[in-house]
């Protein structure tokens, strides 16, 4: 830029007049101006193209992360399958694995059919007080749905995929609590309705910009919208089914250990891994600060939950109960989910620690209440879903009385609705087709009755 300065200096110094002057022709001036114009236009074009290139790349990265996150959430279904079947008896293994295999299939298909339209009905963000809306069946590609114009971060396909992977989760949660005695067909009908209607409608209240969103309720990745909603279904199912034969035998609580701790550990680790995407993907972009903090606090809460549950049960019963350690890890994960983007590392450790204590106490209390939850789904998902949602009002950047009020509103609204819906569905099924297998089937195991074979038929005998 110094040359211009020279120009200016000479003008100034010489009073704009010297002997050896240069007289310009019109052509000369025109061409000088044209030069400037060309440069300016060039600059404008570059501004656009550089901006476009930058935006394309940012779109590509954000979209890529959301796809990777979807893959991570997908693998949670295997986590649920192995965790739940590991904590149940061998004779019901196929049954549980089967449920957890078809649920993601059902979830993807029904969410494409109706769920997405119910969950994102197009409420006006910030002002809508609506409870229900429906954007229509199917997943027609919106205009520009495949470009950055869709939402600046990922394509419509990515959006749907990530949401659909979440959807099936709540039915999977129910599966664990009703394990070893529920009639398969009845459970499939329940899952179908719950995933296609109940989950997305409640979800629309917050994530679809409905009334809870307007009221300021906060649920980052679904402590309430996914886990509590699933947990309510678990509670309703467990209540209506009654306990497994022998669980409360002669006035005693009779523990029924699962058949495969290796499987349960695999499941828990896969769930934890999946949570990298469940929470990390809920940032809805690859924003470095936010995603890295979210994943970090998620891991710290899981670790704290695992350790505190371990120590709590050790204090109470003097043994290292691995099933409680696993439940504790999951509790930390569920509890941090509602506020994962609002918490400091220290907050997350506190939240996870409380979650780990809560899950152990809750498992014992639920047993005492004569509710039979084979895998602890109610304690992990419902109790800690509530705790985590509350915690947003107690810790982190949003904490404060008004937020606490909003959180309580959301908790009460979502849980009563979910419980009422789940209870109704199970109740209708109970009165119509029946929801519990007969005694002989339960004793001999559901596998041979509904699936034709056992899970390990050629295992020990040659």
């Amino acid at each position: 830029m110094d040359t211009l300065a020279v120009f200016q200096d000479s003008l100034a110094a010489q009073g704009y007049l010297t002997e050896e002057t240069v007289t310009l022709t019109r052509t000369m001036v025109d061409s000088l101006m044209a030069s400037n114009k060309t440069i300016a236009a060039d600059l404008q074009a570059l501004k656009l193209s550089a901006g476009q290139g930058t935006q394309d790349n940012q779109f590509k990265i954000d979209n890529l992360w959301m796809l990777v996150a979807s893959a991570l959430v997908f693998i949670m279904h295997l986590g649920f399958a192995t965790l739940e079947s590991g904590l149940s008896r061998a004779k019901n293994t196929i049954n549980i694995l089967f449920k957890n295999t078809v649920i993601p299939c059902i979830g993807l298909l029904t969410f494409a059919l109706m769920g997405y339209g119910l969950m994102f009905p197009g409420f006006v963000a910030g002002t809508s007080m609506e409870f229900f809306g429906f954007a229509g069946f199917g997943i027609p590609l919106p205009e520009n749905g495949e470009t950055a114009a869709y939402n600046g971060k990922f394509t419509f396909w990515t959006d749907f995929l990530f949401q659909a992977m979440f959807a099936a989760t709540c039915a999977t949660i129910v599966s664990g609590a009703v394990a070893e005695r529920v009639k398969l067909t009845a459970f499939l009908v329940f899952s179908f309705v719950y995933v296609m209607l109940v989950y997305p409608i409640i979800g629309s209240w917050k994530w679809g910009f409905g009334w809870l969103h307007t009221l300021g309720f906060y649920d980052f990745a679904g402590s309430t919208l996914v886990h509590s909603v699933g947990g309510c279904g678990a509670l309703a199912g467990a209540l209506l089914l009654g306990p497994r034969l022998g669980k409360f035998y002669k006035g005693r609580i009779n523990p029924i250990p699962g058949h495969n701790v290796t499987s349960a550990v695999i499941g828990t680790f896969l769930l934890w891994l999946g949570w990298f995407g469940f929470n990390g993907g809920s940032v809805l972009s690859a924003d470095p600060a936010l995603v890295s903090k979210v994943i970090l606090v998620t891991c710290l809460a899981a670790a704290a939950g695992g350790m505190s549950a371990t120590l709590t049960i050790f204090t109470l019963s003097k043994n290292y109960d691995i099933s409680m350690t696993l439940n504790g890890i999951l509790s930390g994960l569920v509890a941090i989910t509602a506020g994962a983007d609002q918490m400091s590392p220290l907050d997350s450790i506190v939240i996870g620690t409380v979650g780990g204590v809560l899950v152990v106490v809750s498992v014992l209390v639920i047993d005492k209440m004569r509710i039979d939850d084979p895998v602890g789904a109610i304690s992990v998902h419902l109790v800690n879903g509530i705790w985590g949602t509350l915690a947003v009002g107690l810790f982190g950047s949003l904490s404060g009385l008004p937020q606490l009020g909003a959180q309580l509103t959301g908790i009460v609204a979502c849980n009563t609705t979910a419980f009422a819906a789940a209870f109704s569905i199970f109740f209708i099924l109970k009165k119509s087709m029946g929801i519990r297998v007969d005694e002989e089937e339960e004793i001999n195991g559901l596998d041979t009755y509904e699936h034709g074979i056992e899970a390990y038929p050629n295992f020990s005998l040659k």
């Binding site: 523990p255 109470l316 019963s317 152990v360 014992l364």
Partner: protein, 105 residues
Amino acid sequence: MIGIKAVIRITKFDEVKDALKEIGIEYFTYYDVRGVSFQAEQKGIYRGNSIIDSTSAQKRVLDIMVPEIEAPDVIACISKSASTGTAGDGKIYTYPITSVVRIGS
């Protein structure tokens, strides 16, 4: 021939086996069973509740056919090698065998 059925602790199996080998027993058969003794009570703890189960003491049964004359030695040998001196060491029964055939002969 007489059949000797010894119910022993699984943890004593290797010692008994070696002892039997030493007194010249060539073959025996074994399988695992569960011994119920109604005294036995707490068998574990899971999710905060004790597993009260009278059915879970795992034992191993050794089934040995020997000429009647050898039986006392075999019984003594097992009784000695399978013993820990504490309750639950097991029992040895004998029962009559009326015939033996070698397969294929």
